[in-house]
């Protein structure tokens, strides 16, 4: 099983559709491609925001994502994975990050994409700061994200035994 993976951190915008297409181009073994794109909202809790700034821990952010991509490739029969995450200032409507997973069948592609998203949210060292007209506020981590990530911890032994 060779999962070709791409992990990229960048300031610049990216083209999610083109990145997803790269995973399947010229191949006939892939039967399922799941893509998730996180987009900057124009409001938070009903209040308009001017922009979002993403701080990250260079070196660790990339390494942490790569560790989880490797784990996903161990747990599911993936044929390709792409994770791109932006940092710096991002305007409402712009893409923040994407995950794309390719596999022969949809179950693995869906599960791996969700697994990667849940872990990215709680383990990858990125911090969002919301810029409003007159103030800047660090986004609080959500307890629901921790719960979402924890659900992947339980079946680990079962998968490892398969």
């Amino acid at each position: 099983m060779t999962a070709i993976s791409t992990v990229r951190l960048q300031r610049e915008p990216f083209d999610a559709a083109a990145e997803a297409k790269k995973l399947t181009r010229g191949r006939t073994d892939i039967g399922a491609l799941v893509t998730f794109t996180g987009i900057c909202r124009g409001s938070e809790s009903g209040e308009p925001i001017a922009a979002l700034t993403l701080e990250h821990y260079p070196g660790m952010a990339e390494a942490e994502i790569e560790r989880h991509v490797a784990e996903a490739a161990e747990r599911w029969p993936l044929l390709g994975v792409t994770v791109i995450h932006r940092h710096g200032r991002i305007m409402p409507g712009e893409d923040i990050m994407m995950v794309a997973t390719a596999s022969s069948h949809r179950e693995a592609a869906f599960a791996a994409a969700e697994f990667l998203m849940d872990y990215l949210k709680t383990r990858a060292p990125f911090w969002k700061q919301i810029e409003k007209a007159d103030e800047k506020i660090w986004v609080d981590a959500k307890a629901t994200d921790d719960v979402a990530a924890e659900r992947w911890a339980a079946p680990r032994g079962r998968h490892a035994a398969e």
């Binding site: 821990y57 070196g59 660790m60 923040i96 949210k121 709680t122 060292p125 911090w127």
Partner: protein, 85 residues
């Protein structure tokens, strides 16, 4: 032993700098003890580490728990819970 400390997001803002080199004092052996010691270094540190149970840490770019020994760490980072994705 000199190690590099790095701070991110509001921990960085409260401490007032992104990184610094420190000499770990004798008796400080875990990440949690290091946070307690840092909190005693001044007002800005006390503010940053007022609530150590919510601060996350990494040793040489790997997540660790407060009870983790510092060992031969060359870089220790402190930051709030992550909010990427």
């Amino acid at each position: 032993m000199t190690i590099k400390l790095r701070y991110f997001a509001w921990v960085r803002e409260r401490v007032g700098k992104p990184e610094e080199d420190i000499d770990v004092p004798a008796g400080v052996t875990t990440v949690g003890e290091l946070m307690t010691w840092l909190a005693s270094r001044g007002e800005e540190y006390a503010h940053a580490f007022a609530n150590p149970q919510i601060i996350r840490a990494a040793i040489d770019r790997i997540h660790v728990k407060p009870q983790n020994p510092i060992g031969k760490a060359s870089e220790i980072a402190f930051f709030p819970p992550m909010t990427g994705g």
